[in-house]
Symmetry: C2
Amino acid sequence: MSAMRMNEGVEWAAHACALLALLPEGKALSAAALAEFHELPRAYMAKHMQALAKAGVVVSIKGPRGGYRLARPADAVSLWDVRVAIEGPGPDFRCQEIRRNGPCPSHDTGKPCTIAKAFWDAERAYQAQARSVAIADIVASLAAGVNPARAERFNTWLAANT
Amino acid sequence: MSAMRMNEGVEWAAHACALLALLPEGKALSAAALAEFHELPRAYMAKHMQALAKAGVVVSIKGPRGGYRLARPADAVSLWDVRVAIEGPGPDFRCQEIRRNGPCPSHDTGKPCTIAKAFWDAERAYQAQARSVAIADIVASLAAGVNPARAERFNTWLAANT
Protein backbone atom coordinates (compact mmCIF):
# COMPACT_ATOMS: atom_id res chain seq x y z
CA MET A 1 0.00 0.00 0.00
CA SER A 2 1.31 3.41 -0.97
CA ALA A 3 -0.05 5.79 1.61
CA MET A 4 -1.10 9.17 0.28
CA ARG A 5 0.73 11.86 2.17
CA MET A 6 0.75 15.60 1.86
CA ASN A 7 4.13 17.18 1.21
CA GLU A 8 5.58 18.37 4.53
CA GLY A 9 6.26 21.65 2.71
CA VAL A 10 2.57 22.54 3.11
CA GLU A 11 3.02 22.80 6.88
CA TRP A 12 6.27 24.72 6.47
CA ALA A 13 4.79 27.11 3.92
CA ALA A 14 1.71 27.76 6.07
CA HIS A 15 3.88 28.63 9.08
CA ALA A 16 6.10 30.81 6.88
CA CYS A 17 3.03 32.70 5.65
CA ALA A 18 1.88 33.22 9.25
CA LEU A 19 5.30 34.68 10.03
CA LEU A 20 5.18 36.95 6.97
CA ALA A 21 1.76 38.18 8.13
CA LEU A 22 3.49 39.71 11.19
CA LEU A 23 5.97 41.79 9.17
CA PRO A 24 5.84 45.57 9.52
CA GLU A 25 5.10 47.56 6.37
CA GLY A 26 8.01 47.59 3.94
CA LYS A 27 9.89 44.70 5.61
CA ALA A 28 10.63 41.28 4.13
CA LEU A 29 12.09 37.97 5.31
CA SER A 30 14.54 35.83 3.35
CA ALA A 31 13.98 32.12 2.77
CA ALA A 32 17.04 31.53 4.99
CA ALA A 33 15.47 33.48 7.88
CA LEU A 34 12.14 31.70 7.37
CA ALA A 35 14.00 28.37 7.51
CA GLU A 36 15.89 29.39 10.62
CA PHE A 37 12.76 30.45 12.47
CA HIS A 38 11.41 26.89 12.46
CA GLU A 39 14.77 25.06 12.14
CA LEU A 40 13.99 23.78 8.66
CA PRO A 41 16.41 22.81 5.86
CA ARG A 42 17.28 25.98 3.92
CA ALA A 43 17.25 24.47 0.44
CA TYR A 44 13.78 22.96 0.84
CA MET A 45 12.40 26.10 2.42
CA ALA A 46 13.78 28.12 -0.52
CA LYS A 47 12.07 25.74 -2.94
CA HIS A 48 8.74 26.02 -1.14
CA MET A 49 8.97 29.83 -0.99
CA GLN A 50 9.56 29.86 -4.75
CA ALA A 51 6.46 27.73 -5.19
CA LEU A 52 4.44 30.17 -3.05
CA ALA A 53 5.76 33.06 -5.17
CA LYS A 54 4.94 31.26 -8.41
CA ALA A 55 1.40 30.71 -7.14
CA GLY A 56 1.04 34.39 -6.26
CA VAL A 57 0.72 33.82 -2.50
CA VAL A 58 3.92 35.74 -1.68
CA VAL A 59 5.99 38.31 -3.55
CA SER A 60 9.75 38.42 -3.74
CA ILE A 61 11.40 41.79 -2.96
CA LYS A 62 14.86 42.29 -4.42
CA GLY A 63 17.79 44.04 -2.72
CA PRO A 64 20.04 43.66 0.36
CA ARG A 65 17.04 43.84 2.75
CA GLY A 66 14.91 41.90 0.31
CA GLY A 67 13.01 38.69 0.81
CA TYR A 68 9.41 37.59 0.86
CA ARG A 69 6.17 39.31 1.83
CA LEU A 70 2.59 38.10 1.60
CA ALA A 71 1.12 39.12 -1.75
CA ARG A 72 -2.21 40.03 -0.14
CA PRO A 73 -3.76 40.49 3.30
CA ALA A 74 -3.50 37.49 5.63
CA ASP A 75 -7.28 37.07 5.66
CA ALA A 76 -7.20 36.65 1.86
CA VAL A 77 -4.73 33.73 1.88
CA SER A 78 -6.35 30.40 2.77
CA LEU A 79 -4.76 27.10 3.69
CA TRP A 80 -6.15 25.80 0.40
CA ASP A 81 -4.10 28.46 -1.45
CA VAL A 82 -0.99 27.28 0.40
CA ARG A 83 -1.67 23.63 -0.33
CA VAL A 84 -2.28 24.30 -4.02
CA ALA A 85 0.96 26.30 -4.24
CA ILE A 86 2.97 23.37 -2.85
CA GLU A 87 1.02 20.34 -4.10
CA GLY A 88 -0.50 21.60 -7.32
CA PRO A 89 -4.21 22.13 -8.00
CA GLY A 90 -5.30 18.51 -8.27
CA PRO A 91 -7.72 16.82 -8.62
CA ASP A 92 -6.30 13.97 -6.58
CA PHE A 93 -8.54 11.45 -8.32
CA ARG A 94 -7.94 10.96 -12.02
CA CYS A 95 -10.59 9.03 -13.89
CA GLN A 96 -9.18 6.75 -16.57
CA GLU A 97 -12.66 5.81 -17.81
CA ILE A 98 -11.82 2.12 -17.52
CA ARG A 99 -15.56 1.41 -17.64
CA ARG A 100 -15.26 1.85 -21.42
CA ASN A 101 -12.66 -0.93 -21.73
CA GLY A 102 -12.94 -4.68 -22.03
CA PRO A 103 -15.44 -7.25 -23.19
CA CYS A 104 -18.52 -5.41 -21.82
CA PRO A 105 -17.78 -1.69 -22.15
CA SER A 106 -20.21 0.73 -20.53
CA HIS A 107 -22.39 2.77 -22.76
CA ASP A 108 -21.02 6.33 -22.86
CA THR A 109 -23.78 8.37 -21.23
CA GLY A 110 -21.74 11.57 -21.39
CA LYS A 111 -21.96 11.75 -17.59
CA PRO A 112 -18.92 11.19 -15.41
CA CYS A 113 -18.62 7.78 -13.80
CA THR A 114 -20.22 7.66 -10.33
CA ILE A 115 -16.86 6.71 -8.85
CA ALA A 116 -15.14 9.79 -10.28
CA LYS A 117 -18.05 12.04 -9.30
CA ALA A 118 -18.00 10.76 -5.71
CA PHE A 119 -14.27 11.37 -5.27
CA TRP A 120 -14.45 14.81 -6.89
CA ASP A 121 -17.36 15.70 -4.57
CA ALA A 122 -15.19 14.61 -1.65
CA GLU A 123 -12.34 16.79 -2.92
CA ARG A 124 -14.71 19.75 -3.14
CA ALA A 125 -15.76 19.18 0.48
CA TYR A 126 -12.08 19.12 1.47
CA GLN A 127 -11.38 22.25 -0.51
CA ALA A 128 -14.32 24.17 1.00
CA GLN A 129 -13.06 23.36 4.49
CA ALA A 130 -9.44 24.31 3.71
CA ARG A 131 -10.61 27.54 2.06
CA SER A 132 -12.47 28.49 5.23
CA VAL A 133 -9.27 28.88 7.25
CA ALA A 134 -7.02 31.84 6.47
CA ILE A 135 -3.46 32.70 7.44
CA ALA A 136 -5.03 35.43 9.60
CA ASP A 137 -6.73 32.68 11.64
CA ILE A 138 -3.38 30.93 12.14
CA VAL A 139 -1.79 34.17 13.28
CA ALA A 140 -4.63 34.79 15.73
CA SER A 141 -4.29 31.33 17.26
CA LEU A 142 -0.49 31.60 17.55
CA ALA A 143 -0.82 35.10 19.07
CA ALA A 144 -3.08 33.68 21.79
CA GLY A 145 -0.07 31.87 23.27
CA VAL A 146 2.24 34.91 23.38
CA ASN A 147 3.49 36.44 26.64
CA PRO A 148 5.71 39.56 27.06
CA ALA A 149 8.97 37.58 27.19
CA ARG A 150 8.16 35.72 23.96
CA ALA A 151 7.00 38.90 22.25
CA GLU A 152 10.30 40.56 23.07
CA ARG A 153 12.32 37.59 21.83
CA PHE A 154 10.28 37.61 18.62
CA ASN A 155 10.76 41.35 18.07
CA THR A 156 14.51 41.01 18.61
CA TRP A 157 14.69 38.19 16.08
CA LEU A 158 12.60 40.15 13.58
CA ALA A 159 14.77 43.29 13.94
CA ALA A 160 17.89 41.22 13.32
CA ASN A 161 16.46 39.53 10.23
CA THR A 162 14.62 42.29 8.34
CA MET B 1 5.68 21.04 -7.30
CA SER B 2 4.90 17.47 -6.44
CA ALA B 3 1.23 17.06 -7.26
CA MET B 4 -0.71 14.87 -4.85
CA ARG B 5 -2.39 12.11 -6.79
CA MET B 6 -4.50 9.21 -5.74
CA ASN B 7 -3.22 5.79 -6.76
CA GLU B 8 -4.99 4.72 -9.95
CA GLY B 9 -5.61 1.44 -8.16
CA VAL B 10 -8.45 3.12 -6.23
CA GLU B 11 -10.44 3.47 -9.46
CA TRP B 12 -9.58 -0.09 -10.50
CA ALA B 13 -10.47 -1.52 -7.11
CA ALA B 14 -13.78 0.36 -6.98
CA HIS B 15 -14.77 -0.98 -10.42
CA ALA B 16 -13.66 -4.47 -9.41
CA CYS B 17 -15.87 -4.28 -6.30
CA ALA B 18 -18.83 -3.18 -8.45
CA LEU B 19 -18.24 -6.21 -10.65
CA LEU B 20 -18.02 -8.53 -7.63
CA ALA B 21 -21.33 -7.09 -6.40
CA LEU B 22 -22.99 -8.65 -9.47
CA LEU B 23 -21.78 -12.19 -8.76
CA PRO B 24 -24.39 -14.87 -8.15
CA GLU B 25 -24.29 -16.61 -4.77
CA GLY B 26 -21.33 -18.97 -4.44
CA LYS B 27 -19.43 -17.61 -7.45
CA ALA B 28 -16.09 -15.81 -7.43
CA LEU B 29 -13.88 -13.93 -9.91
CA SER B 30 -10.11 -14.26 -10.15
CA ALA B 31 -7.81 -11.23 -10.19
CA ALA B 32 -6.97 -12.18 -13.80
CA ALA B 33 -10.64 -12.05 -14.83
CA LEU B 34 -11.12 -8.77 -12.97
CA ALA B 35 -8.10 -7.36 -14.82
CA GLU B 36 -9.40 -8.61 -18.16
CA PHE B 37 -12.83 -7.08 -17.66
CA HIS B 38 -11.37 -3.56 -17.69
CA GLU B 39 -8.20 -4.31 -19.71
CA LEU B 40 -5.91 -3.63 -16.75
CA PRO B 41 -2.42 -5.02 -16.05
CA ARG B 42 -2.80 -8.37 -14.28
CA ALA B 43 0.04 -7.97 -11.80
CA TYR B 44 -1.19 -4.60 -10.53
CA MET B 45 -4.78 -5.80 -10.35
CA ALA B 46 -3.62 -8.81 -8.31
CA LYS B 47 -1.76 -6.49 -5.95
CA HIS B 48 -4.81 -4.26 -5.48
CA MET B 49 -7.11 -7.24 -4.89
CA GLN B 50 -4.71 -8.47 -2.21
CA ALA B 51 -4.88 -5.02 -0.60
CA LEU B 52 -8.71 -5.16 -0.66
CA ALA B 53 -8.57 -8.64 0.93
CA LYS B 54 -6.13 -7.48 3.60
CA ALA B 55 -8.47 -4.59 4.43
CA GLY B 56 -11.43 -6.98 4.73
CA VAL B 57 -13.35 -5.51 1.76
CA VAL B 58 -13.20 -8.75 -0.25
CA VAL B 59 -12.60 -12.38 0.67
CA SER B 60 -10.46 -14.82 -1.25
CA ILE B 61 -12.02 -18.21 -2.06
CA LYS B 62 -9.59 -21.06 -2.69
CA GLY B 63 -9.97 -23.78 -5.32
CA PRO B 64 -10.20 -24.22 -9.10
CA ARG B 65 -13.31 -22.00 -9.32
CA GLY B 66 -11.98 -19.73 -6.61
CA GLY B 67 -11.30 -16.03 -6.65
CA TYR B 68 -12.68 -12.99 -4.94
CA ARG B 69 -16.08 -12.06 -3.54
CA LEU B 70 -17.21 -9.00 -1.62
CA ALA B 71 -16.80 -9.60 2.10
CA ARG B 72 -20.11 -7.87 2.86
CA PRO B 73 -23.18 -6.50 1.07
CA ALA B 74 -22.45 -3.88 -1.60
CA ASP B 75 -24.31 -1.22 0.38
CA ALA B 76 -21.92 -1.78 3.28
CA VAL B 77 -18.74 -1.11 1.26
CA SER B 78 -18.07 2.60 0.72
CA LEU B 79 -15.66 4.32 -1.63
CA TRP B 80 -13.82 5.43 1.49
CA ASP B 81 -13.31 1.75 2.42
CA VAL B 82 -11.86 1.14 -1.04
CA ARG B 83 -9.58 4.15 -0.88
CA VAL B 84 -8.30 3.22 2.57
CA ALA B 85 -7.61 -0.34 1.38
CA ILE B 86 -5.43 0.93 -1.47
CA GLU B 87 -3.95 4.16 -0.07
CA GLY B 88 -3.81 3.42 3.64
CA PRO B 89 -5.81 5.18 6.34
CA GLY B 90 -4.02 8.52 6.38
CA PRO B 91 -4.14 11.21 7.63
CA ASP B 92 -2.72 12.95 4.58
CA PHE B 93 -1.47 15.84 6.65
CA ARG B 94 1.21 15.03 9.18
CA CYS B 95 1.96 17.72 11.74
CA GLN B 96 5.66 17.98 12.61
CA GLU B 97 4.98 20.58 15.33
CA ILE B 98 7.57 22.91 13.83
CA ARG B 99 5.97 25.73 15.83
CA ARG B 100 7.95 24.38 18.81
CA ASN B 101 11.30 24.80 17.02
CA GLY B 102 13.63 27.74 16.56
CA PRO B 103 14.46 30.98 18.32
CA CYS B 104 10.85 31.79 19.32
CA PRO B 105 9.14 28.45 20.00
CA SER B 106 5.41 28.47 20.58
CA HIS B 107 4.15 27.78 24.04
CA ASP B 108 2.76 24.24 24.14
CA THR B 109 -0.93 24.75 24.83
CA GLY B 110 -1.68 21.04 24.51
CA LYS B 111 -4.00 21.87 21.62
CA PRO B 112 -3.18 20.90 18.04
CA CYS B 113 -1.79 23.64 15.83
CA THR B 114 -4.53 25.48 13.91
CA ILE B 115 -2.89 24.44 10.65
CA ALA B 116 -3.04 20.75 11.52
CA LYS B 117 -6.58 21.06 12.86
CA ALA B 118 -7.77 22.77 9.66
CA PHE B 119 -6.31 20.11 7.37
CA TRP B 120 -7.62 17.27 9.54
CA ASP B 121 -11.08 18.90 9.49
CA ALA B 122 -10.82 19.01 5.70
CA GLU B 123 -9.86 15.34 5.62
CA ARG B 124 -12.89 14.51 7.77
CA ALA B 125 -15.13 16.39 5.32
CA TYR B 126 -13.61 14.38 2.46
CA GLN B 127 -14.05 11.16 4.35
CA ALA B 128 -17.71 11.84 5.19
CA GLN B 129 -18.43 12.44 1.51
CA ALA B 130 -16.57 9.32 0.34
CA ARG B 131 -18.29 7.24 3.03
CA SER B 132 -21.68 8.36 1.72
CA VAL B 133 -21.24 6.53 -1.61
CA ALA B 134 -21.40 2.74 -1.56
CA ILE B 135 -20.47 0.11 -4.13
CA ALA B 136 -24.24 -0.52 -4.39
CA ASP B 137 -24.62 3.07 -5.70
CA ILE B 138 -21.95 2.43 -8.34
CA VAL B 139 -23.68 -0.74 -9.44
CA ALA B 140 -27.02 1.08 -9.69
CA SER B 141 -25.54 3.81 -11.88
CA LEU B 142 -23.76 1.32 -14.14
CA ALA B 143 -26.94 -0.77 -14.43
CA ALA B 144 -28.81 2.30 -15.67
CA GLY B 145 -26.81 2.12 -18.92
CA VAL B 146 -27.47 -1.57 -19.62
CA ASN B 147 -29.53 -2.78 -22.57
CA PRO B 148 -30.44 -6.39 -23.44
CA ALA B 149 -27.47 -6.89 -25.80
CA ARG B 150 -25.00 -5.68 -23.18
CA ALA B 151 -26.67 -7.75 -20.48
CA GLU B 152 -26.31 -10.87 -22.62
CA ARG B 153 -22.66 -10.12 -23.37
CA PHE B 154 -22.03 -9.63 -19.66
CA ASN B 155 -23.79 -12.85 -18.67
CA THR B 156 -21.78 -14.78 -21.26
CA TRP B 157 -18.53 -13.34 -19.95
CA LEU B 158 -19.54 -14.07 -16.35
CA ALA B 159 -20.46 -17.67 -17.16
CA ALA B 160 -17.08 -18.19 -18.85
CA ASN B 161 -15.14 -16.72 -15.93
CA THR B 162 -16.82 -18.08 -12.81
